[in-house]
Symmetry: C2
Subunit: 366 residues, 2 copies
């Protein structure tokens, strides 16, 4: 049934050594001389200018095909100042950048949209560069625009982001509130999402709900906190600041804070974590202590990463539309780059409550 047709590759290396120098790189000059015309005629022909004699046009195209010519994008970029490239910056911390499933899904959507518009993606591997910033790296590479996929990165933000906003480089960020005429900004409705999560919990009878937040600097974290607080207030449940902890989007930190929270002795019947990974940590910590989810304690996460549905108990969570987040960011960016229409920013995408197994009616009598 299966055939070893891959074997065809094996002897395909016959005459590799011919052009050892690397790129033979046939240029318009070559095709010009072969066609007996000038360089500029070739250029105009290849760029589909109207004013060129059909006969010479055909000849040039024919020769171009024969010589297997294709334009040198680098040279073209140099003169046109357009690289057809979108730069992408990820966070540097482990598991919060290119290696995070959430951002991977987002960037995949970005790639699709910008790809259809003729752009490739340049993923910056910003390491070992001292004075380098988003702005300098982008200019250095002459990318046409950039997408920022950052998580809480610390203080250096202010500086770099301000510089970027003032740079005039078209950019869109996800979750990071960039403003400026060349800046776009897309995010989920974190406030309402968090509110939904808490309301779900409240409707289940929970009244003592802990919150494992993200960090203290990201808007994302802040909005989710606000949503948590608002829902509590709406239902006159009162805010207990000691019930709010920071997990920095790290599972282990979330586990630690969960333990701390339980040790306070408060009768917490539900946890809301600002990310699914933290929610998993909460559940793990709870289970280790001997508490059952959802029988004893309910847990809600945020994001709806792939693992959420498979985790056990399957995670009740707030789904972010990762594809839409990425595709919208890309669309907004393209609009900015190509000066098409107004930027209608920020774009705020709705979240969706996904009820699975980690939440249940509160069992504790009040």
């Amino acid at each position: 049934m299966l055939r070893a047709s891959h074997i065809i590759y094996e002897n395909a290396t016959k005459n590799v050594s011919e052009n050892k120098g690397g790129c033979p790189m046939v240029s318009i000059k070559d095709i010009a001389s072969k066609a007996g015309v000038s360089i500029s005629t070739v250029s105009r022909t290849l760029n589909h200018y109207a004013d060129v004699n059909p006969r010479t046009r055909d000849k040039i195209f024919k020769i171009a095909k024969e010589l297997n010519y294709f334009p040198n994008a680098v040279a073209r970029s140099l003169v046109q100042k357009k690289t057809h490239t979108i730069g992408v910056f990820f966070g540097n911390k482990t598991n919060s950048g290119f290696d995070h499933p959430f951002f991977q899904d987002v960037i995949s959507a970005v790639r699709e949209v910008v790809g259809n518009a003729g752009y490739d993606l340049l993923v910056f591997t910003n390491k070992n560069k001292e004075r380098a910033t988003y702005t300098t790296l982008s200019k250095e590479r002459s990318v046409d625009g950039i997408v920022l996929l950052l998580t809480g990165e610390g203080k250096k933000w202010d500086h770099q982001l301000t510089e970027l906003q003032e740079s005039g480089i078209p950019c869109t960020a996800i979750d990071v509130p960039l403003v400026g005429e060349k800046c776009g900004f897309v995010e989920s409705d974190n406030f309402s999402g968090a509110k939904q999560a808490i309301e779900h919990l409240i409707s289940l009878g929970h009244t003592t709900i802990a919150f494992i937040g993200g960090d203290e600097i990201s808007k994302t974290s802040f909005d989710r906190l606000r949503g948590y607080q608002q829902a509590l207030m709406d239902h006159k449940l009162g805010l207990d600041p000691t019930l709010v902890r920071l997990g920095y989007f790290i599972k282990e930190k979330a586990m630690e804070e969960t333990r701390n929270l339980i040790e306070t002795g408060k009768q917490i019947t539900a946890f809301f974590a600002a990310s699914d990974e933290m929610a998993m940590g909460v559940i793990e910590a709870l289970t280790a202590i001997g508490l059952r989810v959802p029988e004893d304690v309910s847990v809600v996460g945020f994001d709806d990463i792939r693992e959420a549905a498979y985790f056990r108990p399957a995670l009740t969570t707030i789904r972010q539309n990762k594809y839409k987040l990425g595709s919208t960011a890309a669309e907004v960016l393209l609009k900015i780059i190509e000066n098409t229409g107004p930027s209608s920013c920020p774009v705020v995408l709705p979240c969706e409550l996904i009820v699975r197994e980690s939440t249940a009616a509160c069992s504790r009598r009040e």
Copy 2:
């Protein structure tokens, strides 16, 4: 606890409109005139040539810093014929490319390694280009090397891969057996991996084991089939060709073949699927029919994607070292590019059997 410090961004857009033209782009010419020296002196200074007067050197560096100069990578690439960029090609099919968790983990490792060596990643969004091939796109962009992250893509392979192998462009592929002096090739030991899977099943008492393979063209699929067959033969269990089906790495196809297989009426007690996603499909199909996993039927997958551990039953699978796959591919590529040492290819990485819950002792008496 959380502070709204993100607010600082909001008024940061004051003097954005200054350089509306886009990039002011200070060049070495600017530095030269300001320093009262020639362009080439500036160039040599900035490139740390030894033969430059300390005084003028200092002056030039000072001015460069003042003017916030940084080199134009495009211009530099044009003359140096080196872009410090690694191109990446993914498969085009949905869920088998940039959007597949397996490749995402691999590419993340690639990024890390090449990043440390000073290269950025150019993700090709090869769409709408007619005559374009890996080779032409790579030359057009003048990337220094490329990484191929492909799945069974069909016939066009032979052509493109042969062209690439002969092109002299440094490249490494994962799972695709490229050969040639500028080609690298990294894969998991699919044969032994599959063999381990079957031996695990056999040790559990299973004798009638079905195989849901990948496609008919990839070496990966072929090797896994061979491993399956070898293990069966080693244990004198005989090969039943009707027990081998193709799922093309697609969950739905795997489900379909599972149903077909069950309908044959053969007493199949175990399935080995060539990917975790297909294994999940097998389990879903089995469950839908009313068969329990692992009580009635055991299932083994391949890859160990993130979801595998969370799936229920948690998947027994053959783990591929995704990080190592990517990092090795990157290291091999860098060696080829920089002509460091021999290429010691192909690199074959060991797989590991991960026993979880989807396999159990065979319950059916023979």
